[in-house]
Symmetry: C2
Subunit: 348 residues, 2 copies
Amino acid sequence: MAKIPGDEPRHGKVTMRDVAQRAGVGLATVSRVINGKPGVAADLIERVNEASRALGYRHDVTASSLRRADRRTATIALVLEDVANPFSSALHRAVEDAARAEDILVLTGSSDEHPEREHELIDTFTLRRVDGLIVVPTGGTDGQLATVRRQGTPIVCVDRLVELDRVDTVTVDNREGTRAAVRRLLDLGHRRIAYLGDMRAIWTARERYEGYLEAHAGAGRPVDERLVRRDIRSAEAAEHAIGEILTAVDDPPTAVFAAQNLLTIGTLRTLQRLGLHDRVALIGFDDFPLADMLRPGVSVVSQDPAEIGLMAARLLLGRINGGDHRHARHAVVPTGYIARGSGEIPPP
Amino acid sequence: MAKIPGDEPRHGKVTMRDVAQRAGVGLATVSRVINGKPGVAADLIERVNEASRALGYRHDVTASSLRRADRRTATIALVLEDVANPFSSALHRAVEDAARAEDILVLTGSSDEHPEREHELIDTFTLRRVDGLIVVPTGGTDGQLATVRRQGTPIVCVDRLVELDRVDTVTVDNREGTRAAVRRLLDLGHRRIAYLGDMRAIWTARERYEGYLEAHAGAGRPVDERLVRRDIRSAEAAEHAIGEILTAVDDPPTAVFAAQNLLTIGTLRTLQRLGLHDRVALIGFDDFPLADMLRPGVSVVSQDPAEIGLMAARLLLGRINGGDHRHARHAVVPTGYIARGSGEIPPP
DNA sequence: CTGAAAGCGCTTACAG
DNA sequence: CTGAAAGCGCTTACAG
């Protein structure tokens, strides 16, 4: 930075040394008091605190972590798909709040679902010596995660199941949430229920499809493969796919289950375009803003990203705060069902 | 953290000292090469790079910043209203991308519009010695911002105007965007246009209201105070307020301008409830997801948070990278208008 | 152009 | 219980 004449000395220049001097004690004692270590005489504690207050001393966490035995930096990192998408940002906020309660800072990064990018982020964060990592894994970095974990950094994976030694996971019950919702459609009398699913490479997508199959099996109903489209990755692709199914199949579906946000919206567009939005039932997985304002309101299987984030933060902070366990834990956060109309349309 | 027997040594333990040894040079030379400083013999550069690569050396930015004259940490901080709201998170993403291009990390925090919380965040971030600060200011921390700036940290304020020495700002043209939109309604023939506005304490809210007044003045039309409600802070309050205006006023408005996201949605709810959504025109300030899927589609004055974020990042990084100026700069990002139907409804 | 030494702000053995 | 010294991983005067 260019030096501008008017500049004051940069940042609170009062150091521990200053506090020690003013309190008339050694540097080590100040350190002990600041860190709340036991075994310091009460009057010294008093003097240090007073000097610290009088001078406006501000502890430098970064510098302290350098020599510290445990290297703690009071920082954790959060690797998301994209900080700008609603699921990610709600998760982010929940983690921020949980971390703040312990004066821990949160670093974030967006992987955009690219393993290389995720790898890079994990690399950056571990180099900055974060105390722990919460990751929505792309699936392509298991080796790296295992290594980082073995080197001592606690890790919690979120949203997708990973099976790594001492790595905790938090997921929702994708399978059960889907099964229950599809079962509702079957119970309403629907016999031909289309299914739109995300990339098979994604664990959640596979689980949700299993739920769809289980619902049919549980009701003793066959699945018509022609009503199923998987590996759909955008709203546009969903628009197209469901359009095909609705028009090209001779015996078209009377209901649709869209296994992801964007696919729900794409389906909706096509239903509106074909004028079928009041005749074909629709349930989506994952809620979205204004779903209640549409006509009909869109029924969804809802997840609670804030709850997921809180859970992940708890597991991580638990390990960081001395409770590092030998075994991996897996928390499952329940899904809900929000009936708004579209999922309650009966078959003709 | 509890030490688990199976743990490997924590983190890449190869240090600059190791590289120096392997390359057969002094520590200072390694530092010079890593930092790309001029005046090192080509063959030494080669040897250092080779040793560095062979050993898998990873530079510790945090440690380096401790002794560094400019104290740079390759970190900037972003103080948002709430990382989970769409405007904030889009801004966040844009800043992340711009910072990443220069290998700079972004710290974020949510002020929730509370000055005390904002103060705390700025405090935390400066203590961690961030190289710069991008802030969506609550308005209650001007003194702190001025001090931090004087101490040398570049600052860019976003979304709201602040007038502080050497603090840059990025805003949108709230006034002009509003004026143009309201003018459209006037040109359509509307004579009674209701106005719903956010807290007067917020600069953007005041600016938008000015735009509403200017449009009327420009068209030589009077403003009826009974159609104006300001200091509205939630969708529910907007629902209520516009309900009152539409039913209690003897000569009800034929159009509504909602000066903020939530207010637009609240208005929409009431219009739908009263069955007026196809008869009363509506324009909102700030776009929102699925606005195009509603019936009618909701017309809005749109801002581009990604553009705002990019702009802010550029101004900040410019100052950080040696271009610190004496004068404050103020960038204004233009707004757009998206016609989707609701704003195009003519008066009866 | 290059390296040995000092030092950034702190913590941690090590003596007392 | 307390303090002087060494050291965390690096950068920066300071000599050569």
